[in-house]
């Protein structure tokens, strides 16, 4: 495997532009049947990443956490994810970054990372496979200090309408709305506010005009905002080590108010957010 060491975490804004350019190039090459069909055998690495205290505080306050020196697992995702996007923006990446859909996200945190602690980020892509509506791929990101992996995330993305591995089975499940435990009142600026603290300025979250270009009636909330807010709502009962797993259903159009249920389950906590349609389901499971 080729290892590409980047000098620092790239800015995600520029990466979306690069991703859009590479997506355009990919479309042209696809026409002449010279587009890549397999994942590049490459890992992107950035060493010595540190969290910024002001951004950490703003992230924690936006998500409803107290400003502690332990980095929320969703904040670690936000810090590390530009490295993954850099990998996806490579010309030999087989799926177009622009317009990809975040299907699900699994994070295993074995210990909390702390402010001031330097850590290494490593991103790879794996398991290009069929989906009912296109092709999906896992972006695997690990965050470690030395050999000790503190955080491992698997983000599953879908390129809709592009069938590189044939058509996958219909595995949609039905959603019966449970009794809510609360609600999230999400203002029109929810996407812009999360973009400011996460660095993820994907235009479909910050501008309704851009969202319309991708087929959404209005701007949509970041999936990771809803996932991180659900994790924050679980509270300290999640412990220092946990699995945090979410599936994204329909996007949350902004502004809106959604019902949520964050409640104890047999294994830990179940989380769900819905309005007239389901938006997010998942679980937070403390690790012994």
């Amino acid at each position: 495997m080729t290892v590409v060491v980047l000098p620092g975490v790239p800015g995600a804004g520029g990466l979306y532009l690069r991703g859009a350019v590479s997506s355009g190039g990919l479309a042209i090459r696809r026409r002449v049947d010279r587009a890549p069909r397999d994942l590049p055998d490459v890992a992107y690495v950035v060493r010595g990443v540190r969290a910024d205290p002001d951004r950490l505080t703003e992230f924690q306050h936006l998500l409803g956490e107290s400003a502690s020196d332990a980095l929320p697992a969703g904040f670690v995702h936000a810090l590390a994810f530009p490295v993954t996007i850099a990998l996806m923006a490579r010309p030999d990446f087989p799926l177009p970054v622009a317009g990809m859909v975040h299907l699900s996200n699994q994070v295993t945190q074995t210990r909390p990372l702390t402010l001031g602690e330097p850590f290494d980020v490593r991103a790879t892509a794996a398991d290009l496979r069929a989906h009912r509506t296109g092709t999906q791929v896992d972006l695997v990101t690990t965050v470690s200090t030395g050999d000790d992996i503190a955080w491992r995330g698997v983000s599953t993305y879908l390129a809709r309408g592009l069938f590189l591995r044939g058509q996958g089975p219909d595995d949609r499940s039905t959603f019966d709305p449970p009794t809510p435990t609360g609600q999230w009142v999400l203002g029109a600026d929810t996407g812009r506010r999360y973009a400011a603290v996460s660095g993820d300025h994907n235009p479909i979250h910050v501008s309704s005009l851009a969202a319309k270009a991708f087929g959404f009636p209005r701007a949509i909330a970041h999936g990771m905002y809803t996932a991180s807010r659900a994790l924050a709502s679980v509270g300290p009962a999640r412990g220092d080590a946990f699995d945090w797993s979410v599936s994204f259903a329909k996007p949350v159009l902004l502004p809106s108010t959604v019902n949520v249920r964050i409640a104890p389950s047999e294994t830990g906590f179940s989380v769900a957010a819905w309005s007239s349609v389901p938006h997010l389901t998942g679980s937070v499971t403390p690790l012994a």
Binding site: G64, P177, T179, P180, T181, G182, Q183, W184, V185, S233, V234, G235, N259, R261, I262, A263, P264, F269
Partner: protein, 437 residues
Amino acid sequence: MARRTSTPTPSPRAAYVLGGNRIPFARAGGPYAHASNQDMLTATLDGLVARYGLQGERIGEVAAGAVLKHSRDFNLTRESVLGSALSPETPAYDVQMACATGLETVVSLSNKIRLGQLESAIAAGVDTTSDAPIAVSDRLRRALLDLSHARSTSQKLAALARIRPKDLAPSAPRTDEPRTQLSMGEHQALTTAQWGITQEAQDELALASHQRLAAAYDDGFFDDLVTPFRGLTRDANLRADSSLEKLASLRPVFGLGLDTPATMTAGNSTPLSDGASAVLLGSADWASSHGLTPLASVVDAEAAAVDFVHGVDGLLMAPTFAVPRLLARNGLTLADFDLVEIHEAFASTVLTILAAWESEEFGRSRLGLDGAFGSVDRAKLNVHGSSLAAGHPFAATGGRIVASVSKELHRRGPGTRALVSVCAAGGLGLTAILEAA
């Protein structure tokens, strides 16, 4: 030679409720609209002073609080004492425990009397939803604070440049729970649905509250408990002529988004209110040296809290856990009480608490008992009406209940006993036992 003996912990002396005073409770935007918390608390203290001859008296301590309080009122109680006819050498401090604030001041001050730290005390509470503090937005606040910390002109300009027009919109205090963003009414609607409480049952409780409060006023029960203020002589929310038909005609306002019928209306929920109350507490010696008659003793108290954030229990259900613990410690059952005061945040709050106590399943799985905790005889419940009729200026409710129930205990005579329960925001509940003196 010293002899080793095991002496049992001496039981503390009794702390007595000697009297109380409140101003009639007004509806938000009514006659107290321009009266501040400090205005109402001072007027209430002065009414107490006048009734019990406390002019110039140095009281041991005055504790009071308000749920909706401006940061400039950090010493609200002390400022009110300084503006009252009490001795300016009376110490005072602020307490805040959401809607349980008033009862908490009674509990903590009576404990100090029991321990011999104090001979006398005044427990009080006040709230205004009309004159509520309004804050600037977080973004404006942060920019202004950064501006005040800035040294150079360029830093100052940078702080100012961050302010956007929408940041100038004021932010009024909300009664939503911060962690769930649901209003108290929406939370109670979930609990109401869980326990299957009908609108009819809620309306019956609301009607009884109005009828009993009206009867108590007509009988003169409140003549030595209430001092008129700003033209009000009775609680403005009281509807003596209410009826089940009128109540049934009101449209539900909470729980409209649930898949069960919405049952909670403005008629069976408490309105936003303005008002204040105070309770005079003292030792037996202090009472007799001041020619005052002890009405009731404050025997014991228990607080509880529930995890409503994760839907384990309803937001206002903490008293269902506090009371069984309190009664177990005192070797009592619900049947041992002559009076039961359960604060009517909503009619359904009272009914869901009673339903939980009557539930075998709840008793076993949540209270760890062999079966149901017990039931309350409705004839003993809120005998002179409660918050549905009187209104509910948050921190003033505890003092209203304690003063009224102490007077009623004294009327009924020695050996009678009362249970007081107040639910509060944040999943809190505070309960207490009083006995006729």
